[in-house]
Symmetry: C2
Subunit: 319 residues, 2 copies
């Protein structure tokens, strides 16, 4: 049975895996990215990681790579990868030259959506919106059964939908973006501000110092019953729900799938307020079909998305 | 050269036309809907209007109908048409039985998007968002070159995106919808409220009485230089821009096309503030590709969209 190689290239880790058509991982390798070594250094580490998983008795027929980057949808060149500090590099060509196999790249949020669609919480749906809530907020869209990339490959910037028009500044320079009020960074900022104002004692005692308070600490405090922490997460969830309602009314998808470290870590404490807010703001005729579910692939989201993408591309070549 | 019949069924008017593949209208008929006569009465009027335009020397090969309704995307049955007060009627079957021709129905905003895509401001684009600003606010989406209907046929409810989370109530029962702050109804309400508060003298003198102040009066006063009226339109435009930015960041389309009576009537007075607000809130990498243009088909939007839809369906049958 043939296999594909799948690589989830992150800012901190490289995760390579050999994956069959059913999405089963038969071997895997995880190692640090060491982005500070520069592009050539990271390419070497990717190749070493691949060499480790690509066993000779069943060699892979193609390679999918999930990259935290903007990618030229026609050529597959990386235009800009902020976390890796790369600009205008041709990772597809460099890997193809080294491996002698076809390589396909796409943005990590797009491939996470594809992975959940093929192998995870989105199996069987034709229209889904995948949202990741971690340090930032991102997403990907499967519309009419296919990954939707937009005109310039940039669709799915869910984190930059306007959820709080007069709200705080966002890392992108605008104000009012969802990412500025519902990301891991926003949760951390809100918690630290609360402690500075003299409240949030439980979060402070868990973290030790104010600087160490982050979304994980807020999640732990909330799980232990701390009302301040619960309210911070609920507020983030309500903003998430506002953006979900806008998308429900615009795209009328069958399901929203929520993944990412923060959402997975705190679970219902953010998803329940998100659902309630989205429900009350969804256009009444669509309301009862609103469905928001947690992602299921977790740490495998990236590699399984990359694998699904490689399988799709191989199938297209065959046709 | 063969033709299709196209019908734009509105709450007040029926517009029927014979249309060739290039979108040229070779004969047309406009008559009142008289919705108060009930479903059978309106069907009779549609058939009479069609009989008027369907000349015997070049009989039509199919019929497209734009309906202000929710339509079952599989069966083509009308589920609910609030303006006509219809529920669960099978207009497709009733027209097919009477005409002996294949008939295809779709929602009027979807078909307006298709019409602008095929014959209007959207020619040559693959990803576009059509927005109509009239009494209400609606829209339709062309994604990857095709009309996108969503899971349950309800995509494109642009007017119910959340543009002002704590804003005024909307006709749908929710709060904060774009329609509640940027529609013809919202503009009328804002103008009447301003006059009640003792300002807006120019609008009052144009209208005669406060009850007669509507979006048309506000547009006229604004065109004549009235600052109160201009600010009302600019505010509506800014809310429109907030929702456009959200969609730009989510879907990354090539172009936004703005139609509908209010937007066409007041033009730049609403579109310029919309563009400025959308531009400053669009995710920086996409900002310089943001394009917002006026619709061009105006009164023909519905019939040309219905014609494009009939041509598409005929082409699918041939394949």
């Amino acid at each position: 049975m043939s296999k594909v190689l799948a690589v989830d290239l992150g800012g901190t880790k490289i995760y390579s895996a050999l994956v069959n058509r059913s999405g089963e991982i038969t071997s895997g390798d995880i190692r640090p990215t060491n982005a500070q070594d520069g592009y050539q250094g990271v390419v070497k580490r990717i190749l070493a990681s691949i060499a480790r998983v690509n066993t000779l008795d069943e060699p892979a027929v193609g390679v999918g790579v999930a990259v935290p980057a903007y990618i030229d949808p026609q050529e597959g060149r990386i235009l800009f990868a902020p976390n890796l500090k790369w600009q205008a590099v041709d990772l597809k060509k460099d890997l193809e030259d080294a491996l002698g196999l076809p390589v396909w790249l796409d943005n990590d949020a797009n491939l996470a959506a594809l992975g959940e669609h093929r192998y995870g919480a989105g199996k069987g749906y034709h229209n889904l919106v995948y949202i990741t809530v971690s340090t930032g907020v991102g997403g990907g869209l499967i519309l009419d059964g296919k990954l939707y990339r937009g005109a310039f490959g940039g669709a799915g910037e869910f984190g930059h939908m306007i959820a709080a028009p007069e709200g705080p500044g966002c890392s992108c320079g605008n104000i009012g973006c969802l990412e500025g009020v519902a990301s891991g960074c926003a949760i951390k900022r809100e918690a630290q501000n609360l402690v500075k104002s003299g409240r949030g004692h439980h979060m402070l005692s868990l973290a030790g110092t104010i600087e160490k308070i982050d979304a994980r600490v807020v999640g732990q405090a909330a799980a232990e019953g701390d009302l301040d922490a619960q309210e911070i997460l609920a507020r983030a969830g309500r903003y998430l729900g506002i953006a979900i309602a806008s998308v429900a009314n615009l795209l009328n998808p069958e399901v929203f799938i929520i993944g990412g470290g923060v959402a997975c870590g705190v679970g219902k404490l953010i998803l329940d307020p998100a659902f309630n807010e989205a429900y009350r703001r969804t256009y009444p005729p669509y309301r009862d079909s609103l469905k928001i579910v947690p992602a299921v692939l977790r740490a495998q989201t990236g590699v399984l998305g990359a694998a699904a993408y490689a399988w799709d591309q191989l199938d297209q070549i065959k046709r």
